[in-house]
Structure formats: C-alpha cells, structure tokens
C-alpha cells in the first residue's frame, strides 16, 4: 500500500504518465486507487499530432496495468520520508 499512499499525497499535482503503448499524457492527478489506476484532469497528450483523436478528451482514467512510468514534479518528492516509510513497511 506504500505506493498507493504515496500517490495519494500527489493528488492535485501535475504528472506525466507514460503508457506501455508509448502514449504520454500530462495532466493534474485527480485520484488513484489501490491498483494504481489513475484519473487525470485537463490532460494533454505529448505527441498530439500522432494521436489527434485525443484532443476531444479532457479528463481520463488510465488503467494501472498499462502504465510504464509516472513522471513527477521533482520538488514533490521527499526521498527521506519515502525511505523511512519503506523500512517501516518492510518491518511490518
């Protein structure tokens, strides 16, 4: 549940989600669930000319299983806290 909790702290931040089909979507993180499915608001597709049909989409739901990377704003990560939480979780 560590990454679920972690992503929950990022709600409202702007993230870029890179999918396994090479589509990259930037948007405001609206919500996340335990499968790491994410909902983004005000989305913008990085390569818009290749995916023109995505221009009619403003909000979207992305299935967690198709996500390859999530790019986060660097200043929103406190590695120290994440590190501690990891140890705490591992200890149980």
């Amino acid at each position: 549940m560590l990454f679920y909790s972690y992503f929950k702290t990022l709600v409202g931040k702007e993230v870029t989600v890179e999918l396994k089909n090479d589509l990259a979507i930037t948007g405001t993180l609206h919500s996340v669930d335990q499968y790491l499915n994410v909902k983004l608001h005000s989305v913008k597709v990085t390569n818009e000319t290749k995916y023109p049909h995505m221009l009619s989409v403003r909000n979207c739901f992305i299935r967690g299983s198709v996500v390859r990377y999530v790019q986060l704003p660097a200043n929103s990560i406190d590695v120290e806290i994440l590190h501690d939480a990891t140890r705490r979780e591992a200890r149980g």
Binding site: P52, N59, F61
Partner: protein, 123 residues
C-alpha cells in the same frame, strides 16, 4: 488507512460518453452503463472510431462488453470538442480506403529500408 472499495473509481463516468482506447490500438466510443473492479465495461451505442491521419469514421457496433485487461484508457469526451478540432469526419468506405493506402505506403517504406540496409552491408 482508508481505502475506497475496489472498483468504485469509475462511478463518476457512468452514463457518460467515453472514448475507450484498447490495447490493440482500437478506439471505441460509447456510453458507459456498467463496470467492475477489473475495468470490464458495458458500452451502449458503441461505435469504433477508425483514425487515419486527420480523418476518422465511426462504425456502429451496438452494445459492447469489453474485457478489462484490454482497456488502456477511458477518456471523457468533451462534447464541445467532438469531433476533435482539426479532424475531418469521412464515410466508412473512405476510411477503409485511407487505411489501405496507409498500409501500402508503410509496405513501400519497409522495402525501401530493407534495400538500404542491404546496400549498407557492403560498406
């Protein structure tokens, strides 16, 4: 920690017109009537949106059940931007023709590349 019950993430999307991107690259537009925790979906009045370049066509499909594992993304369609700006709606016959032309062009590109690679092998 409080975790919402599984499979509630899509409640807000019920009865909305959505664009569903599938893993095989197909795009289906339909009204979301039901779903579960796997993102299995029931879409009413579904159409397949075939896109070639900046042209597209909608092929009627009827009532569709999509198995969750094939779902990549569900996009809420902004009715003010549908069809998407800069895109031209054409007939199904026209899009099929455009699809064939695109396939043909890709084939030529591939053989050209194969020939170039062949020539480069001599260097």
């Amino acid at each position: 920690m409080e975790v919402p019950p599984p499979g509630t993430a899509l409640v807000e999307e019920l009865d909305k017109r959505l664009l569903v991107q599938l893993r095989d690259g197909r795009k289906i537009v339909g009204i979301l009537r039901s779903f579960d925790q796997f993102a299995n979906l029931v879409l009413e009045a579904a159409v397949e949106r075939v896109v070639v370049g900046h042209q597209f066509a909608d092929t009627p499909l009827g009532l569709y059940v999509v198995r969750g594992e094939n779902v990549v993304l569900l996009g809420e369609i902004d009715e003010h931007r549908d069809p998407p700006p800069n895109m031209e709606k054409v007939t199904e016959a026209e899009i099929r023709q455009a699809q064939r032309a695109e396939k043909e062009a890709e084939k030529i590109k591939k053989t050209m590349k194969a020939r170039m690679d062949f020539l480069l092998d001599f260097e």
